[in-house]
Symmetry: C2
Subunit: 281 residues, 2 copies
């Protein structure tokens, strides 16, 4: 089924040189095939992802300090939660460290913006998932002037240094910026307003935020230009088609895990001796 | 398919008056039907569980402080990890707070035995899962004399008080003790020794622990007799048949969630006003 990808997701979605304003959010970079083919492939690839994740976890349990961290960013309704549910949901919950970052609490505001992030970093062997992240501090913080410009301007370099250290310490970062069109967002917000079982996902402020769309686009552009590094590249994900977004993130995770060349941890005991002990125990 | 249960799992597995030494670990209390029927039913009931969990999460996001906490105890290879993977794995990872409690670290040993437990309690709206728990402190701690008897003897009452407070604060506790036979354990340990992809799950100490089987049985008996309360009942789960164990825990979780009578959170805004605002945004 891999023949559906004419370019691997990791290459097709690389942010380098990309202009956010020109992005076709309904595109499916690298993939040839429609929704049905995509969904069938997702089922298949989810099993591959689960197998790789188990190996990462096994190595973590055996002392390997490496980890993988998926960072999800995107406007409201872009589908971050759906990625967690449908992609991360396919792997063993024991190996997942999930954290969502909302409006900072009073205590969090008193600290450096990376303080709350550091507390949630994945342990060795874990697949970490950030639903929003430290990048909110150069997105909403910038668009709404929550801090002076000289403060948020410095954050890009701080983030790069922070992520370089993370990478050096063995964390493979996969940063995914999900983009939908203004129309697609309207459709998704409308659904939340028309279905009582979706009311809880709706916040009137989400509508106000639409007025800042161009500001966010600019903030995302700068973020991509300034924080997509070799240590921690950004992937730009057109996300109007949910099935494509889920499949693409699955592929990104598979590529990252395959890059770790994980083997099953060797025995730290002699299996034959232990089998004999077991027989008489 | 519910007709497969002639007695609801919550009633069939209640610990009251049960003798651990007499337990048939291959039984399937309350269930009539074999493995195939059980697996089909599990697929169906997993979807029900996922729907209820989403409602719990939605309420938590809307300020409801109630939560559910599944506590899993059992000897090595009893299948605790399998429950996490196959039962908890069917719900949205965003709503799961998972914690595994191993041998206490140096820092943990300096604190009261409930210290590390309190840090991992589920937040409002979350489904917490403890893979081992504070009950290790009246199991391994007792069997291996890690603390003097007068210390562990006091812990039963401490635990009851702790759990009563948790229940009063809105946490529904579901405590599940998984039991397998000594023979079934031998079979499962052998598999870990015969398959290189399972070596990482094996620890030579697991074989030594088999020598303490009667002591653990006695420690489990006292635990059930002394800490199965109305606030926080124990369920005794025969776990030789993995499919039955997974199905039964799924049912216990469904019963607990249904008991909360969860509704979708009401709108805190006027949907029609917001729809009009959306149309012009």
């Amino acid at each position: 089924m891999a023949q559906h990808w004419k370019t691997p997701a990791g290459r097709a979605l690389r942010a380098d040189g990309l202009r956010v304003a020109d992005l076709d959010t309904s595109a499916r970079p690298g993939f040839r095939g429609g929704k049905k083919a995509g969904q069938e492939l997702l089922a298949e690839r989810s099993a591959v992802l689960a197998g790789l994740q188990e190996k990462l976890y096994a190595n973590g349990r055996s002392g390997d300090t490496r980890s993988v961290l998926l960072v999800l960013q995107g406007m409201d309704t872009a589908g971050k939660g759906g990625i967690v549910r449908h992609v991360i949901g396919s792997v063993d919950p024991q190996g997942v460290d999930h954290a969502a970052f909302g409006v900072p609490t009073g205590q969090e505001k008193k600290h450096h913006f990376l303080w709350r992030i550091r507390k949630e970093l994945p342990r060795g062997g874990q697949l970490g998932v950030f639903d929003r992240s430290h990048y909110e501090d150069v997105l909403v913080a910038r668009v709404h002037n929550l801090v002076p410009e000289d403060v948020w301007q410095k954050r890009y370099d701080e983030i790069n240094r922070f992520e370089r250290k993370l990478a050096e310490a063995g964390t493979t970062l996969i940063k995914v910026a999900m983009f939908i069109s203004l129309d697609e967002q309207k459709k998704r917000l409308r659904q939340r307003l028309e279905r009582p079982d979706k009311y809880w996902k709706f916040n009137p402020a989400d509508i106000d935020e639409r007025g800042y769309w161009p500001d966010y686009q600019q903030a995302y552009q700068d973020l991509l230009d300034r924080t997509s590094t070799d240590d921690a590249p950004w992937y730009v994900l057109p996300a109007d088609a949910k099935w494509y977004a889920r499949l693409a993130v699955t592929e990104l995770l598979i590529e990252a895990l395959e890059g770790l060349n994980l083997q099953w941890p060797p025995a730290t005991f002699d299996p034959d001796t232990e089998l004999r002990r077991l027989d008489s125990a």
